[in-house]
Symmetry: C2
């Protein structure tokens, strides 16, 4: 047990999209210390095999734990969560949380019909991780890969007529898939860490083109809420560790910009290559400047 | 010198986009034998540093030469050509051709005004490889990154209203850049191996929205023409190697489908990961089935 009572949470992604999960974590647990690793030298994980992804993710997890002192790990990457969560949990000695199950659980809480739409990257959809997580909770998940949404977000076209049209096309295809199976979805899960930046536009398209009754669930937000609950339970349960509870405390309020910047100072970001794009785009995902991103070499 | 007179040409890309270059090579030199390597485990090169790209590209080149017997090498990847052509040429003992210079040379042959538009990926544009190659030929190159075009091609939206609108937006921005510098471009270079699949749509957008006088240059085609010329010169020049000339012969005609399929049988494709996407999409780039793609491990 360290003298320092501030817990260190490791957050890992193949790129910088996982900063939306870190942003949600900062809101839930503003007083923790965060180390974020984007394995940018080897992204995107989406086009790689399960074996390769598991190897890369385990290496990244070990860096955060062994070299940066992370005591908890959040896999802020849908592909790695879908394909390698078990492998990471086996490879490291700290609690590990992925983004898939919290997303599915939030969908269960939100859905009345039990039919849930899921949009994600190709690799996440091909793994059927969301459909399986939904099934385990008694839901029916209808998945669709939306490979254009990540580049549209990275191009900065988050409030743009072309992007709205692309979203409309994808949602129409999903609705057609649902109708073909006689399903009645009332919930849409954003199963990719880039998608929270499109949430306002997605909600606008749903209102304008329907169906209006669909509620949007953000896996990043759901994961942060689940993490806060988990870490709270673990720390209040352990004797003599109750004092750490205060450091997780959050009033669930959106902090003012000054508070948010102070919290962001608690974030230390690492990347395995190409820090330039990370620094340029990262702040839009994190909601505040990432600070200088440090280059690390994990080999490969 | 092998008893076999059929030359083996190695073609290398970070993914499978370079199959458009191989397609053009097959048209120019239908009787050569081809080994293609897509370094899919480590794509995209575009987000990586020069040092990393040079290392990956040299490893891939060595595989094609040492293990597959390539006697010539075509770097069918704009990013690798832009950032690592020198490094590859130093690392291997065979002639190496990239895609940038042939593209710039074709633009010089086509342009009256000397002002040339170039569309490419982020990394290629940031390297200014086309602008530099244009400058060396007395042209003025105006570059623009079009990061949405690759995912649109991979989504199969090559004849689609959304894609046409994206192309129109990019071309408008390029025209505005040119106008701001008082330039009068009459040529557009497709500086990415995915873009030949968009050529009909790009030409349609140019006709509908103007300027109509712009001629489209395809770097893949230009590279294949340059390769055919180079290899022809080298082989007819070397004593006792003149008999190999016949094996490069091309009448420059578009072969009928039967001939094309027979030529495609001369192609052997390798990938470092995820052969599934390669096999699924590759045939659209190559213009005929890729055949089974063999998985190779280059480490990393």
């Amino acid at each position: 047990v360290k003298a320092d009572t501030t817990p260190t949470i490791g957050v890992f992604d193949s790129g910088f999209g996982g900063l939306t999960v870190l942003r949600a974590l900062l809101q839930q647990m503003p007083h923790a210390r965060y180390v974020f690793l984007g394995d940018t030298a080897r992204l995107p994980y989406g086009s790689k095999s399960r074996r390769t992804i598991a190897k890369y993710a385990a290496e990244s997890a070990q860096f955060l734990i062994n070299e940066q002192g992370a005591e908890y790990l959040v896999i802020a990457c849908n592909t790695a969560s879908a394909l390698a969560l078990d492998a990471i949990q086996e490879a490291v000695p700290v609690p590990v949380l992925g983004v898939i199950e919290p997303g599915a659980q939030a969908a269960r809480a939100a859905s009345q019909t039990g039919d849930v739409l899921v949009i994600a990257t190709d690799a996440t959809v091909q793994s059927h991780a969301y459909a399986n997580a939904c099934k385990a909770l008694g839901l029916h998940g209808i998945e669709r890969a939306c490979p254009l949404l990540v580049p549209l977000v990275e191009e900065g076209w988050t409030d743009n007529a072309v992007t709205a049209e692309v979203i409309r096309i994808y949602l129409d295809q999903l609705q057609a898939d649902a109708a073909a199976e006689n399903l009645h979805p009332d919930t849409l899960v954003l199963g990719c860490t880039h998608y929270p930046l499109l949430r306002p536009l997605i909600e606008k398209v749903l209102i304008e083109h329907g169906p209006k009754e669909i509620r949007v669930i953000d896996s990043a937000e759901a994961t942060a809420e689940r993490a806060a609950k988990l870490f709270h339970q673990q720390n209040s349960g352990a004797p003599g560790r109750g004092h750490r509870e205060a450091n997780f405390a959050s009033r669930g309020e959106d902090p003012d910009s000054q508070t948010r910047e102070a919290n962001c100072a608690q974030v230390h970001c690492f990347a395995t290559d190409s820090v330039e794009k990370f620094e340029r785009l990262g702040s839009r995902f994190l909601g505040c400047p990432t600070g200088p991103v440090e280059l690390v070499d994990l080999g490969g």
